[in-house]
Amino acid sequence: MSFSPLVDELIESLRCLPGVGSKSAQRMALQLLERDRYSAARLSKALTASLDGVGRCQQCQNLAEQDICKICTNERRNTGVICVVETPSDLMAIEQSGNFNGRYFVLMGHLSPIDGIGPEEIGIDKLLRFIAEASIHELILATNSGVEGDATALYIADLLDGSDILVTKIAHGIPVGGQLGYVDGSTLSHALAGRKPVED
């Protein structure tokens, strides 16, 4: 079924959102136009404003409203450590854990030659420049576990092989509260390989 051209265009545009099929897009469009025009106007303004105002930090590639983001310019953060993540939401997850006080580098993806994503596309040149300028002593690789994330981590680690920067990788293992019997073999072997001495 087809509405007017403008409504159809709105429905089609909403389908770009993750998890939104044609049915939900139609429901959303009608909700905005029929029942909640105030919110619709606010949404439209926020979208336009953020498209204009939000870019990428020139240093760490995270989403930012300034040339250099707030984390990069925060003087209370440890400038000797950089944590490499794949996406801004991975960065948020680490920030929310509250355990990390260094700076980040956001790859905005991972290496995937078959999809045409190489080192340039994820900003490896930029990362190396950042590392050189910040004179860091540790680089933490927090790419996602799994095929491409691992390849990306190995690629970066290999580039820094022979430098005096300590390259570490976050541990992957048993979830807190998890039962060993329910954990898959690969996670278990990662957890075993990354075991640590028991501390007091």
Binding site: S112, P119, I124, G146, V147
Partner: protein, 245 residues
Amino acid sequence: MSTVTREPVYLLHSRHYRETSLLIDVFSLNYGVLRLVVKGALRPSNPLKGLLQLFQPLLISWQGRSELKNLTDVEFVHSMPALKGDYLYSGLYLNELIVRLVHPNDPSPEVFSAYVDVMGSLVEGRPLETILRIFEFRMLADLGAFPSFTEDAGSGQSINSRAYYYWEPEQGFIETYKQSPYTQKNIYSGAELAALSEIDFSRKGTLFAAKRLCRLMIEYLLDGRSLKSRELIAKSRELKKLCLK
């Protein structure tokens, strides 16, 4: 083919599909290159995703008649050590080569067995150039890309070990009178062709000839598409020089 159990495969590539699923390309012993859906793979409770790793021999099971099959189980055969540096990039290169050149849904047991062998050699850290050329030769032979190594495609005469030849796509090796095999990209001596036909790369000159020939043939088959993993290797050389400065 509705249910297949414990098929030997290697994972070639995976990408996100819909909200929580993965779309994977695997290279299988009996069914060739296949695409499968791993439903719900990205949900934290799903144990399958952790097992889907590159360069690891796996046994997988799937269901479904259609073009897109559903993965139902994955087993680790045995864990292979992770590849590093040039060996890792070479592994990525081999996967890209297979995705680009091996026809999907077409059994290619000979290429599969060449892949199993080259993975073993990569893990053992054998001389890279030699093992890559052996794989490329076995793959190109199976794809039917090789012409006769014993007959001149121009004159129909036998290859003369002291003459020089160039490779012409779709035709074969044709005698040429430019006798400078080391400066010309596409010139091989008759003696080199004899060694190539035996996949004997023990001499350095032959290994270099194999490299030039494989490049040309692969480029011809790629028909203008480029291999991103080659850029990966070149870029890493360039960046490493910068890092160590």
